[in-house]
């Protein structure tokens, strides 16, 4: 089991979700986050150029069984890469998952996803 965490642009969230649904990955947690990677996006505020310290991004958390990792990653790549790839498209982090527990039933492991 893996936990896939993706940090993506806000505007591609709909497209990524559509790709995930097409890959039959329905269970997902989405949060608004702020962060800083390589991207330096200039904005105009009252006529002055400013570089925001932190860029707004979307974070997806998807726990999945091992056979779903590649389809999931591919779906995110397809949905989140813009114009053939630009700085600021985001990252995908994959971490091993020790266990998963469904609160309702107490089930554990892969079948609890």
């Amino acid at each position: 089991m893996k936990l896939i965490t993706a940090i993506i642009r806000e505007n591609v969230l709909d497209r990524v979700r559509e790709k995930l649904l097409a890959a039959e990955i329905y269970r997902i947690t989405v949060t608004r986050v702020s962060g800083r990677g390589q991207q330096m996006s200039e904005e105009i505020y009252r006529g002055q150029r400013v570089v925001p310290g932190l860029n707004p991004k979307m974070r997806l958390d998807i726990a999945c069984n091992d056979e779903f990792v590649e389809p999931c990653v591919n779906a995110i790549l397809e949905g989140a890469r813009t114009d053939g790839g630009r700085v600021g498209d985001g990252k995908i982090l994959i971490t091993p998952l020790e266990d998963i527990i469904r609160i309702r039933t107490g089930e554990r492991g892969g079948k609890a996803i």
């Binding site: 806000e10 904005e43 105009i44 925001p52």
Partner: protein, 434 residues
């Protein structure tokens, strides 16, 4: 407005009001001959401010209903109308609406009204108010009408193209309709059509135009499969409240006096809004099991829209009936929209087009003076003319604006949200740490 003067309460206040105004000007404009009625002027000044208050009210109403990435863009649709129509009105629109008919009565024209130069010291002989007050009061209607259309194609229109669209729409659709219905030599006015405060000119025209534009542009990306819930119903409720308050200026101000007719219109307005709101949540409670805040707000609007053409001619009981009927019909229209699957984002047609038509036609059954078949036919004709004219012209305008400037936002812009793409801003920046 003027329509109500000739027909509303059966008192002919004089149908040659603007001819009178211009002959006073021709005679050198002798303001000392006409006294100012300070009571009427005070109320008309108040009404003018109240109608303007409806525009930020509409911005809040619509702004709360869209997704959070489009809140600024949607509110800007209303606010930019204050700028664009505000400038056009003073420049040439007042002349086009209330000048003498030209081009076979297509619209009006009076060179004295350009930049309002000729009315600097005019006191209107029929109303005893400065003509500036009348011109500014009427100008607010020209602002809110195109802003209403924006609800139909919210969340998917390019900002620049929208600005061009409403400017052209104001000149080619609103101004002629306003002239036909409210100017002394307009053909619908002469036909005897009753449109007290703009059921036809404002609500039918904006509703049907919104429908045409929404059908032309197509649905929002992801509609109807994706959920597109309101981002802030609290703001929508505040907006609905401001609209209700402002509507007293809209309707009661349309009496252009401060007297009995004003009180009649104000009472009808209050009764219809309350009945509409109540009917809507009763329907919802029966049909869906829960009374929603959005339903209550929609019912307020349906009632207000329906009583707009009728405020001068119906008693409070009739006004309540109109409000309640409009709520039922608009509720059905929105259900039907969902069945048909077209994307009138914020139900500009479902509430304004449908509610305006209900009010304009059914008012004849509730008139103080009793039902008249002749009037019924006239109302049908006036509504039909307004619908046909607004639909055809809007279709032409959206096609031209789309071909030349591109009316529909790109898929990328739609996904990113209008706020950031067209304005470089976010409505709710504080949601993100920075």
């Amino acid at each position: 407005m003027i329509g109500r003067c000739a027909l509303g309460c059966g008192v002919a206040l004089g149908t040659v009001l603007f001819l009178g105004a211009s002959s006073a000007l021709a005679a050198g404009g002798s303001p000392e001959a006409v006294t100012v009625d300070s009571g009427a002027t005070a109320w008309m000044l108040t009404s003018t401010a109240l109608v303007l208050l409806m525009v930020p009210g509409l911005a809040m109403f619509y702004g709360g209903l869209v997704r959070s990435k489009n809140v600024i863009g949607t509110m800007m649709h209303s606010f930019t109308a204050m700028g664009i129509m505000g400038v056009l009105w003073v420049t040439i629109s007042y002349a086009m609406c209330f000048g003498d008919g030209v081009l076979g009565g297509w619209f009006g024209w009076n060179p004295d009204y350009v930049l309002l130069r000729g009315i600097d010291d005019t006191i209107m002989p029929d109303f005893h108010i400065p003509e500036y007050v009348f011109a500014m009061f009427q100008g607010k209607f020209a602002i809110i009408t195109p802003a209403l259309i924006a609800g139909a194609f919210a969340e998917r229109v390019r900002f620049r193209s929208y600005c061009i669209f409403i400017a052209v729409w104001g000149l080619l659709v609103y101004n002629p309709l306003c002239h036909w219905v409210w100017a002394a030599d307009g053909f619908l006015f002469k036909m005897g059509a009753i449109d007290f405060a703009g059921g036809t000119v404002v609500h039918i025209s904006s509703g049907i135009s919104g429908l045409v534009a929404a059908l032309y542009l197509g649905a929002r990306r992801g509609y109807p499969a994706s959920a597109m819930h309101p981002n802030n119903l609290v703001m929508t409720l505040m907006g609905a409240g401001l609209l209700w308050v402002g509507w007293f200026g809209f309707n009661a101000g349309s009496s252009v006096q401060s007297g009995l007719a004003t009180a009649q219109a104000l009472t009808a307005t209050q009764a219809a809004a309350a009945a509409g709101a109540l009917m809507w949540i009763l329907l919802e409670g029966w049909h869906q099991g829960k009374a929603t805040a959005l339903g209550f707000a929609s019912g307020i609007l349906a009632g207000l829209v329906a009583v707009t053409p009728a405020a001068g001619v119906v008693r409070p009981g009739g006004a309540m009936a109109l409000g309640a009927i409009a709520a039922c019909v608009c509720y059905g229209a929105i259900l039907l929209k969902n069945r048909l699957g077209y994307d009138d984002s914020l139900d500009a047609f479902g509430v304004h087009g449908v509610g305006g038509t209900v009010g304009a036609i059914l008012l004849v059954f509730f008139m103080r003076d009793g039902f008249s078949t002749h009037q019924f036919v006239v109302q049908l004709q006036a509504a039909g003319v307004a619908m046909a004219y607004a639909a055809v012209l809007t279709l032409v305008i959206v096609i031209v604006v789309d071909k030349v400037f591109g009316l529909r936002a790109s898929a990328e812009a739609e996904m990113a949200g209008l706020d950031h793409v067209y304005h470089g801003e976010r409505g709710y920046g504080l949601l993100n740490a920075n």
